[in-house]
């Protein structure tokens, strides 16, 4: 048998049909659904008289629109159009008989946090969702990627996707991370190296000692931002940590079925002599606590650096960098640590898991946020929230002056009431620093949870290592 990558193995196990030109029908094991990108797909099913082919493999949860305030049970906290979208999901979930976690359920949260938490996401699966950050689930060695609404409808109706295979891209992080450097810094550093289009046409497999050393939470953070590097998906081979995370989850197999599953999962790794179309090796020790200065996730630098000059770039990036610096209200040559912050957001499918809250709380313990700072923590799910309360993290955040919120996408994309006002500047643990992403004319600096906590204390972008 010819050697295969992990991606090759998962792909081959899911091809239901292949045409002469290489176009395949890829079978989908898990279809995650949220309220923003699904209403038109369900409506399409209704119009054409089609049903959901595999409701048992379809899981829905509202997350993008839902308010994160404690009083959110009162629907008046939602705008009319948000409420209509959430209600449409309620109705569609009932009508088509799919698994559903409504806002009132403690298990509700961001779809990419709920999926793994409930054991829906398992190694070797194909997972799709009408959301680009579906890449998150690749941390389990599942082939997971975002799709558009037409494809959501296609999966609902047929449980397959029409796909052509991507190329294989190996990203190896060798050695050990330095203190203060996290999974978020790894994934941002990689995008800084490849650019936001560097992964286009590829599925990335992350490997190497620094990746193996990460917890499942950290691996999810790394894979989450594969899409920001342009890749269709990010993958990490499953190992003992993966199995330990999955075991005992509500929808994970048990008994003999678990043994059978694990036996297969243990074959899911890239063969030593597998072919890679592209390879990148980064030394873990070269990765610093990182921050974005511009309006693309590729605009990333170590916190110790200076805002770059547009002329230091090439081609179309010269104008783009000038535009970013103007939008961000910065000056070339300015120290990144001199950038003053008025808002801190900790949460999102990138950094809204328990480990992220622990990392931020470790920096905040016994400290206060800077006067006038608006700081909020939005746990990725109701269960993360409950665990953080049990561990005493919630009290640390509240004592420090953070708002302790309910679960949802929150300020990562500002489709709900959590938004930046014009000109406000946020240190954010989310994934996109696009113009207007967190609110019209809002300014976003992407950072790790520890870095966000540090900025909340000092009032400016800060090297977290100084507060450790």
């Amino acid at each position: 048998m010819s050697p295969k990558t992990l991606y090759d193995k998962i792909w081959d196990a899911h091809v239901a049909d292949e045409s002469a030109d290489g176009t395949c029908l890829l079978y989908i094991d898990r279809h995650l659904v949220h309220e923003v990108t699904s209403p038109q797909a369900f409506e399409g099913l209704r119009m054409s008289g089609r049903s959901v082919r595999a409701p048992d493999k379809t899981i829905a949860v509202p997350d993008h629109n839902v308010p994160t305030t404690l009083d959110r049970a009162n629907a008046e906290t939602m705008t009319e159009d948000s409420r209509i979208q959430v209600e449409a999901l309620d109705t569609n979930a009932k009508e088509f008989g799919i698994h559903y976690y409504p806002v009132s359920d403690v298990r509700q949260g961001i779809v990419h946090i709920v999926g793994p938490e409930q054991g829906w996401t398992l190694p070797g699966m194909t997972v799709v969702c009408g959301d680009s950050h579906t890449a998150t689930h690749g941390a389990f060695g599942a082939l997971a990627h975002g799709i558009g609404t037409s494809e959501v409808e296609h999966v609902l109706a047929t449980q397959t996707l029409i796909q052509k295979k991507s190329k294989n891209f190996k990203v190896e992080i060798t050695g050990k991370l330095n203190p203060g450097v996290t999974a978020k810094d790894i994934t941002m550093h990689i995008i800084g190296e490849t650019g936001t289009a560097g992964g286009t046409g590829y599925v990335i497999e992350y490997c190497g000692e620094a990746i193996r050393d990460l917890s499942m939470e950290g691996r999810m953070t790394v894979c989450n931002m594969a899409i920001e590097g342009g890749a269709r998906a990010g993958l990490i081979a499953p190992d003992e940590k993966t199995f330990a995370y999955c075991k005992g989850r509500p929808n994970a197999p048990t008994g003999a079925e678990w043994d059978k599953a694990q036996a297969w999962w243990e074959t899911l790794f890239s063969d030593g002599d597998a072919h890679w179309d592209l390879e990148l090796t980064i030394k873990a020790e070269d990765i610093a606590p990182s921050v974005t200065w511009g309006t693309s996730p590729e605009d990333v630098l170590p916190i110790t650096a200076l805002v770059p000059a547009p002329e230091s770039f090439k081609g179309g990036k010269v104008d783009a960098a000038a535009r970013s610096i103007e939008y961000m209200g910065l000056t070339a040559g300015q120290k990144l640590t001199d950038i003053e912050i008025d808002t801190v957001f900790i949460g999102s499918c990138t950094n809204g898991r328990i480990e992220d809250l622990r990392a931020a709380a470790a920096i905040l313990k016994g400290k206060k946020v800077k006067d006038g700072m608006r700081a909020m923590v939005v746990p990725g799910s109701g269960l993360v929230r409950a665990q953080a309360e049990e561990e005493g993290l919630a009290d640390i955040f509240k004592d420090a002056g953070f708002e302790w919120r309910m679960a949802g996408c929150s300020m990562c994309l500002a489709m709900n009431p959590d938004q930046l006002a014009e000109g406000e500047r946020c240190a954010s643990t989310s994934n996109r620093n696009f113009e207007g992403r967190q609110g019209y004319k809002g300014r976003t600096h992407l950072v790790s949870p520890g870095m966000a906590a540090a900025a909340a204390i000092t009032g400016h972008l800060t090297d977290v290592r100084e507060l450790m």
Binding site: D131, T158, A197
Partner: protein, 201 residues
């Protein structure tokens, strides 16, 4: 889906790199449960000020480009989210073809589901078409999907590659769910075997 075979139209130049889906259609317009009517919100934050007045120097607000049906764009067009609202807004505005050196994967696929042809050309050819587009309304670009060519206003012809299945669907305006459902037997067979091999799924 609307068919695409040939197109002759005005091309608007948008040389900015990394034009993302939040620029194409800001999130406030994602709160719709319909696919239609998003053209008025296309590039909203670049096109209009907070009071809803047009920003005069934005390309699609210039008299020459108000009727544009082609965009010639900077690298990595459509990066960011999976929102199909982006191609819905582009198509609803009347743009049926986007030309760049590269597209984000999900956006690229979404275009084909909505009667939009995304064309990938090498940088020098895209740059030449960008210059052509900058000439304004008299510079009409011709796109021929069957022949897989783009012709500039001065008659320069550029060939492009496109996946044969995607081309077939676009040229015939095919509903790919219908096509896949014709293969239901293959899906049934696969599903039966997979649930025997991997019963935990």
């Amino acid at each position: 889906m609307e068919k695409f075979d040939k197109l002759s139209g005005i091309a608007a130049p948008m040389p900015l790199v990394n034009i993302d889906t939040d620029m194409i259609i800001p999130k406030v317009f994602l709160k719709t449960i319909k696919r239609s009517g998003l053209g008025v919100n296309l590039f909203d934050e670049m096109r209009f000020d907070r009071e809803g007045n047009e920003i005069a120097d934005f390309v699609l607000n210039k008299p020459a480009y108000r009727e544009a049906s082609v965009l010639v764009a900077g690298d990595n067009f459509g990066c960011g989210s999976s929102r199909e609202h982006a191609p819905w807004a582009i198509a609803d505005f009347g743009i049926r073809c986007v030309i760049s050196t590269s597209f984000a994967d999900i956006f690229y696929n979404n275009c084909f589901k909505n009667g939009i042809l995304p064309i990938i050309l090498p940088e020098d050819q895209r740059d030449a078409l960008m210059k052509d587009a900058e000439k304004g309304a008299n510079a009409r670009i011709e796109v021929d999907l069957e022949a897989q060519t783009v012709t500039s206003s001065d008659g320069e012809v550029y060939a492009f590659e496109v996946d044969s299945f995607k081309k077939h669907c676009l040229m015939n305006g095919l509903d790919d769910i219908g096509l896949t459902m014709e293969k239901a037997a293959a899906i049934d067979t696969f599903e039966a075997q997979a649930s025997a091999d991997r019963p935990w799924v």
